[in-house]
């Protein structure tokens, strides 16, 4: 796959279709992949990589990259294409300046996931079909891909590309994942349990803004939390209230716009399951206002800028079952 991608990228660079290529580049330890812009065939040969660790969603970079001259080639995994569409819906980048190639994805893992299996001192990782072998200075261990997939990939919502100029490889289908199971589990808890759960999770927050800055829905020119004039600006969670405030408002601001790409949870240095906040909104929206997948099509009307006269009343929150 990587070879085909490099070859196609070189071709498109050479024939002048694009001026730059947005992809992933290798790092020190196989797993520490960095998004990068490549301008020459040599750079591509030297550093371009596409493997099980290329989890970064590249679509948000298009906001910045399309402000530059020329056209850029971007590689999009299926779930990235939803973000791509959502950004287009919100006029956040110029489609004309992008050449999008859809690429397949078998699910991604990460250094953190591998380490969470108790491995340390990683010196190399081999991919062989569904087997991934991790070499460390202490031991070697082979995993089945599914064992070390990130949560968002284990509950992948779609292997289908919803936007591209061309595809490399086969397109997949929208999946019936069980991505709301954890939300449902939380919903089934008592309010006290839920409170305890979220308090212990959110109290870990260091307000590094990684979740916000990586989020393809958070592309505000100036975030309310950085804007002293907004009245709610905050730099550190000076009180547990501010932790709640930040995450509630952030989730609310992306409600109906969040494609559930899962980047927020991936980047959280404290492993707070932030996607469970966004998924709660998605689940509520699906249940109350009908299924809606942000980014599934360009130009669709997000549920929070929409209504029907027959919408449920807010009091449904008091009556819903099981709580």
């Amino acid at each position: 796959m990587q070879g085909m991608m490099i070859a196609r990228a070189k071709e498109l660079l050479q024939n002048g279709t694009v001026n730059r290529v947005l992809g992933w580049q290798t790092g020190e330890f196989v797993y520490d992949i960095t998004p990068a812009v490549f301008e020459t065939a040599e750079e591509l040969d030297e550093k371009f990589v596409y493997n099980a660790f290329c989890g970064n969603n590249l679509s948000k970079y298009l906001v910045k990259e399309t402000k530059k001259d020329g056209k850029i080639l971007v590689f999009l995994k299926p779930c990235d294409t939803y973000s791509f569409n959502q950004l287009l819906t919100e006029h956040r980048f110029d489609r004309e300046k992008v050449y999008a190639i859809g690429i397949p994805c078998d699910g991604k893992t990460s250094g953190e996931m591998v380490k969470s299996k108790g491995l340390s001192g990683i010196t190399g990782i081999d991919e062989d079909g569904d087997n991934i072998t991790v070499h460390t200075i202490y031991e070697d261990k082979t995993f089945n891909r599914d064992e070390i997939l990130e949560e968002r990939c284990r509950t992948c919502k779609s292997k289908k590309h919803v936007a591209y100029d061309e595809l490399i490889g086969e397109d997949g289908e929208v999946l019936d994942s069980h991505r709301f199971d954890m939300v449902a589990k939380l919903e089934a808890m008592t309010p006290d349990e839920r409170f305890a759960f979220w308090r212990s999770q959110l109290s870990k927050c260091i307000r590094c803004n990684a979740c916000r800055n990586v989020c393809p829905a958070c592309t505000c020119e100036k975030c309310v939390f950085d804007n002293p004039a907004s009245g709610i600006a905050q730099k550190a969670a000076a009180d547990s209230f501010e932790e709640n405030m930040f995450h509630i408002i952030r989730a609310f601001h992306v409600a109906g716009r969040c494609t559930d790409c899962g980047e927020c949870s991936r980047v959280c240095p404290q492993n707070i399951p932030l996607h469970l906040l966004n998924r709660k909104f998605i689940k509520d929206i699906d249940e109350l206002y009908g299924d809606y997948q942000a980014g599934a099509e360009v130009g669709s009307r997000a549920p929070l800028v929409n209504y029907t006269a027959e919408d449920v009343e807010p009091s449904i929150v008091y009556h819903r079952e099981g709580k």
Binding site: K67, T89, E90, H91, R92, T219, C220, E221, K222, C223, V224, N227, A229, S230, G231, H253, V254, R301, A302, L304, V305, N306
Partner: protein
């Protein structure tokens, strides 16, 4: 930091009895930014206003807080007062310490504490107020009247007389409304048609008045002075400009058994019809539900007999878009459906009729040619029972909780007319109360009782049951005599409650005009602005606002016309400056705001921005048209970056109020 003056009103004892006004002004005097605080008996009085004006001048106030009655009451008064001494009127906030404090609390300490908090919130808000300038918008010199009954007709004629174009939209094929169906009018007993039809004709002949009959309003956009209205002209399959109203077709049409709605179904008309002889416009209409030609493509007789060649089976509904400066709602009323009142047996017995049906049965142009005959067998009735308040003043849920107002008088009229014309007929009227407030009304009612010998019985009718022999047994209680009555009647006339026309509610939604729970339009103020809707540019005429008789309807119609004329003569309207605005530096151009704007006030522009790093960037940003924006604020919440904010109700102002209310 503003220099704020605080003015606490006693409102006589309305506030001062429950709120320690001195404590309020003393405490608020210590708030940051407050340089002057006082209290006074009536702030809205001239001397109260002078007090404010003097303080502004003396202390150089840049902000004013008035603790008084609801801002809905006197905010405008106070704004005008401060503006008169050069302070921007939007540098004023009102803390509502009467309706929302002194009138609802009894404990003086609590009420005082709350008044102080409300005052603090207003102070916190005014700290962040910015002077606002009202913009201007032109006024389209044309009015729309929705509904062509006597209310609409009168309003339209008055507006036209003042020299303005006015359109009437009437959903029926003719204007005239309910009054055209009425036989005589109380308390003068003059013939309704005789006084109405000249006005209808005047409408058709006045070149300032344009009638869209058989038409409906389908959408309303815009705002006061500048509404854009879509009117659907339903296909009547007859070219209005060709039809001479000769009526030849209406006699030749083979479809004879169409219930005649003008006579409330008491007789039949043809599939092509002119509702009544004096209809305006006097143009035939084909009823597509019955016309064989339209339904099955067979017949075409009317086209054959029409010498004017007016019949057009291919006619389509037509939507016309027109701009108006003002809209008058005159959608009128209907008697309620009586299916729920099983005890009166209305649906089972033909001889149990509503009062409006009785009007037709007594009208010379009605189904019986003006002779009162029983609908069932055409015989002359000798005993007639009138039942009052059928569905009026009914809190059981079957009817309406309000008094329909007109029934007492028209029943007296009916009773009197029957007794006059048919002295051998006994007339009983069962009533809860007889309400006759109105010029010459009580005299009229007394004549019915005293001169015409109508039997008025205070009591309830329990059961109306037709008998096999055609008689109707009326079981009732006489509350004064405290006895049960059984009357063998030939006819029973039900004074059905009246309710707003069904078209009113969807119309209210289109107009963004508010309604009460009974679907009557709400007036801007029940006493002081009874003919205006709270929505600027929307006026109310007739029963759509509440039950009325004809003279009241006509006076309100003229009043509404006067208000409309007052609006239309204005060259430019000052617009509400409390509108949304976009901070372009923060705007993402995401379109969320545009999608929630009900007025289409937001558009997007590509604009070049100089970035902090001295480069320029082309960005898509929202732009609000302040003349179109009505200031609801939906966009401000839809906007994730907070680029959209609302003048007068900014994020920071509301949060300052929240802070002030929550602390302490």
């Amino acid at each position: 930091m503003q220099k704020i003056g605080v003015f606490v009103c006693w409102c006589g004892s309305n506030i001062a009895a429950t709120v320690d006004v001195q404590a309020v002004s003393d405490t608020l005097a210590k708030e940051p930014g407050v340089v002057y605080a006082t209290n006074y008996q009536y702030m809205c009085s001239e001397s109260g206003q002078n007090l404010i004006k003097d303080a502004i001048k003396q202390y150089g106030l840049t902000g004013v807080v008035i603790c008084s009655c609801s801002p809905r009451m006197h905010e405008a008064t106070f704004r005008k007062a401060v503006a008169s001494v050069g302070l921007n009127p939007y540098m004023l906030e009102v803390a509502n310490i009467r309706e929302q404090c002194s009138w609802i609390h009894k404990d003086k300490a609590l009420a005082t504490e709350k008044a102080i908090t409300l005052g603090r919130a207003a102070i916190a808000k005014v700290q962040l107020n910015a002077p606002l300038q009202a913009g201007e918008s032109p006024v389209v010199k044309r009015a729309l009247v929705i509904g062509g009954g006597i209310a609409g007709i009168q309003t339209a004629l008055d507006i036209a007389e003042a020299g303005f174009e006015v359109d009437i939209v009437e959903k029926q094929p003719t204007i005239g409304g309910k009054m055209a169906q009425i036989d005589k009018t109380f308390p003068t007993l003059d013939c309704a048609a005789c006084i109405l039809t000249p006005k209808m004709v005047e409408c058709s002949q006045n070149d300032k008045v344009h009638i869209y009959s058989y038409s409906e309003v389908t959408s309303v956009k815009g705002f006061v002075g500048n509404f854009t209205v879509s009117i659907k002209k339903k296909a009547r399959y007859v070219a209005e400009n060709k039809c001479t109203g000769c009526g030849e077709c209406t006699t030749k049409c083979p479809m004879k058994n169409v219930p005649n709605e003008f006579n409330l179904g008491l007789d039949n008309r043809r599939a092509i019809y002119i509702p009544f002889a004096q209809a305006v416009p006097k143009v035939a209409t084909i009823d597509p539900n019955y016309c064989n030609m339209l339904k099955n493509g067979k017949c075409g007789l009317c086209a054959k007999v029409c010498t004017a060649g007016a019949i057009d089976y291919k006619q389509q509904d037509q939507v016309i878009e027109e701009r108006y400066g003002a809209i008058v709602v005159a959608t009128g009323y209907n008697p309620i459906k009586l299916d729920k009142f099983e005890e009166f047996d209305y649906s089972l017995s033909k001889d149990v009729v509503t009062s409006l049906e009785l009007e037709r049965l007594m009208n010379a142009a009605g189904p019986t040619g003006g002779t009162l005959l029983r609908p069932s067998d055409g015989t002359h009735p000798h005993t007639i029972v009138f039942v009052q308040c059928v569905g009026s003043r009914d809190t059981s849920g079957c009817g309406k909780p309000y008094c329909s107002k007109i029934c007492c008088m028209y029943t007296a009229k009916h009773a009197m007319l029957i007794r006059e014309k048919y002295p051998d007929t006994e007339v009983y009227v069962f009533y809860i109360d007889v309400r006759t407030p109105g010029k010459n009304f009580d005299e009229f009612y007394r004549r019915a009782v005293e001169q015409y010998g109508v039997h008025y019985i205070k009591g309830m009718v329990g059961k109306v049951a037709p008998r096999a022999d055609g008689k109707i047994m009326v079981q009732a209680s006489d509350l004064l005599a405290n006895e049960q009555l059984h009357i063998e009647a030939d006819m029973v006339v039900l004074a059905a409650a009246i309710e707003p026309d069904k078209s009113a509610r969807p119309l209210a939604t289109m107009l963004t005009a508010s309604m009460d729970t009974n679907d009557f339009f709400t007036e801007a103020h029940p006493k002081l602005r009874p003919v205006e809707s709270p929505t600027a540019g929307i006026f109310l005429s007739g029963v759509c606002q509440g039950p009325k008789d004809i003279p009241e309807t006509v006076s309100q119609a003229s009043a509404a016309a006067a208000k409309v004329i007052g609006l239309l003569v204005t060259a430019k309207l000052t617009t509400n400056p409390c509108v949304a605005h976009c901070n372009e530096l923060m705007c993402n151009g995401c379109s969320s705001c545009e999608r929630v704007c009900p007025y289409g006030a937001i558009t997007y522009v590509e604009k070049e921005f100089r970035m902090p790093d001295r480069t320029t960037q082309l960005r898509r940003v929202a732009s609000v048209n302040p003349a179109v924006c009505q200031g609801c604020g939906a966009c401000t919440v839809a906007c994730p970056s907070g680029a959209m904010d609302l003048n007068g109700f900014s994020n920071s102002q509301i949060m300052a109020e929240v802070d002030a209310i929550c602390q302490k």
